[in-house]
């Protein structure tokens, strides 16, 4: 796991870098915004930590520039306590998280872990639940057998797998999977749940989906 740390306060930069390194991350450090941006464009990171108040380019400017370049790496902003407007602006500009200064190093580490977890979950090309695997490389659902899903089937299966303990309401599913299609309704969700049920059975999985038309849905393992 590779982290870019941009912080102009030298002591803080060195201290955070030392702790992250000790935790097993590989860290590149920058002391101003321009330097940070140069690193980020050249190299690929798993997490970027940006102080907001930095010389040459502020953290917000760096953030805006990397998002403009479609670099989607998770970004955490370090903000001073008073900078509420900056935090809002930062999140709106595409930051994934922020940490107000002064912060406990324990919290910084926990947030980095949370961000990398989210990142792997989202971009990892395989997710699994019980006896099923879902690959985003080729949209394949597999267990004993494999079938290839359509995009919407894949997205629906993906949020079901990512929320194994939560009953997802039809409304939530519509907002997540069919957000750009206003004509989709509970019948659409129901049809796609029905597709996935047939396909889970067809790949020989013992996993099924609980719920009924218009209701909430969740993956369930069949008791042995």
């Amino acid at each position: 796991m590779k982290i870019m740390l941009a912080e102009d306060t030298k002591d803080l930069n060195r201290a955070v870098c030392a702790v992250l390194t000790r935790e097993g991350y590989s860290v590149d450090t920058a002391y101003d915004g321009e330097e940070a941006l140069r690193y980020i464009i050249q190299d690929s990171y798993d997490v970027i930590i940006l102080d907001i108040m930095m010389p040459k380019m502020t953290g917000l400017e760096v953030l805006a520039e990397i998002r403009r370049r479609h670099i989607l790496t998770p970004v955490m902003l370090l903000t001073a306590k008073a900078e509420i407007d900056d935090r809002v602006a930062g999140l709106d500009a595409g930051a994934d998280d922020y940490l107000p200064k002064p912060f406990a190093i324990k919290e910084l580490l926990a947030r980095v872990r949370a961000m990398t977890r989210r990142y792997t979950d989202f971009s990892g090309n395989k997710v699994s639940y019980d006896d099923i695997n879902l690959s985003s490389d080729d949209l394949t659902l597999s267990s004993g057998n494999s079938v290839r899903l359509s995009i919407k089937e894949f997205e629906l299966m993906h949020i079901l797998i990512m929320n194994p303990d939560i009953e997802l309401t039809t409304q939530y599913i519509l907002e997540r999977v069919w957000k750009t299609e206003p004509e989709a309704d509970e019948n659409t969700v129901w049809l796609y749940i029905s597709y996935l049920r047939a396909k889970l059975a067809a790949v020989g999985s013992s996993v099924s989906i609980s719920g009924s038309r218009g209701g909430s849905f969740k993956l369930v393992k069949q008791p042995e």
């Binding site: 394949t140 057998n145 494999s146 079938v147 290839r148 359509s150 029905s194 067809a202």
Partner: protein, 212 residues
């Protein structure tokens, strides 16, 4: 050669080969084949009347040719005798039933197993457990009370189309260059077709009002 329902009933004229690997069993084998073909025909009629939909898209049958039966005996290390052809090899009589929908495949399987004068000698569900290359079909070997084996292959139209294309790959060994790419792509298509077959079934259930 595979033939359709209408021609299967017609007794083919001509001389009986005296040195046939099937001995003098050919007329009886044809009768067994035609019996099962007419069962399929009956099922189609009954289901069409009941559901307004013919479960079978088409149905073919054949008696394995002399030449390929002898070749199969040699390949299996069996003597080229009538006994091998009729009791060691199970596909001397072959029937292929192609359905539009996946549930119809299983409906036909259940229907053909029900008769008292046949028993199921072997059953392989390559739809539930597709072969590595993506091949899907339901294979069933029936043994008649009179002692003949009949191999029945059941599948959907898309599985049938896939199998036809894959057959070409198998017998065109000279396309070495793209062999791996083609095999990968065939596997991908098999998984897409299987998926679409299931979606079509669900949509049909929805139209019929069975989706609860």
């Amino acid at each position: 050669m595979w033939q359709g329902e209408h021609t299967a009933f017609a007794e083919r004229s001509g001389m009986m080969e005296t040195n046939s690997i099937y001995g003098d069993h050919l007329p009886e084998m044809k009768k067994v084949m035609n019996d099962i073909m007419s069962r399929v025909g009956d099922a189609r009629k009954a289901m069409s009347e009941r559901l307004g939909m013919d479960p079978v898209e088409h149905c073919l049958c054949r008696i394995k040719s002399e030449e390929s039966m002898r070749e199969k005996c040699r390949r299996r290390g069996l003597p080229e005798t009538t006994e091998s052809a009729l009791t060691k090899i199970y596909d001397s009589i072959g029937i292929r039933i192609v359905c539009a929908f996946i549930d119809d495949v299983y409906a036909m399987v259940d229907y053909l197993k029900k008769f008292d004068d046949v028993c199921v000698a072997e059953e392989k569900d390559y739809i539930k457990r597709a072969k590595k290359n993506g091949y899907r079909s339901y294979h069933m070997i029936l043994k008649t009370a009179s002692g003949y084996y009949v191999e029945i292959q059941l599948r959907t139209i898309s599985m049938d189309t896939w199998a036809a294309l894959e057959h070409h790959l198998k017998y065109k060994k000279d396309i070495k260059e793209n062999q791996d790419l083609i095999a990968d792509e065939l596997k991908r298509c098999a998984d897409e077709l299987a998926s679409t077959d299931l979606s079509m079934q669900i949509i049909r259930n929805m139209i019929m009002g069975d989706l609860t």
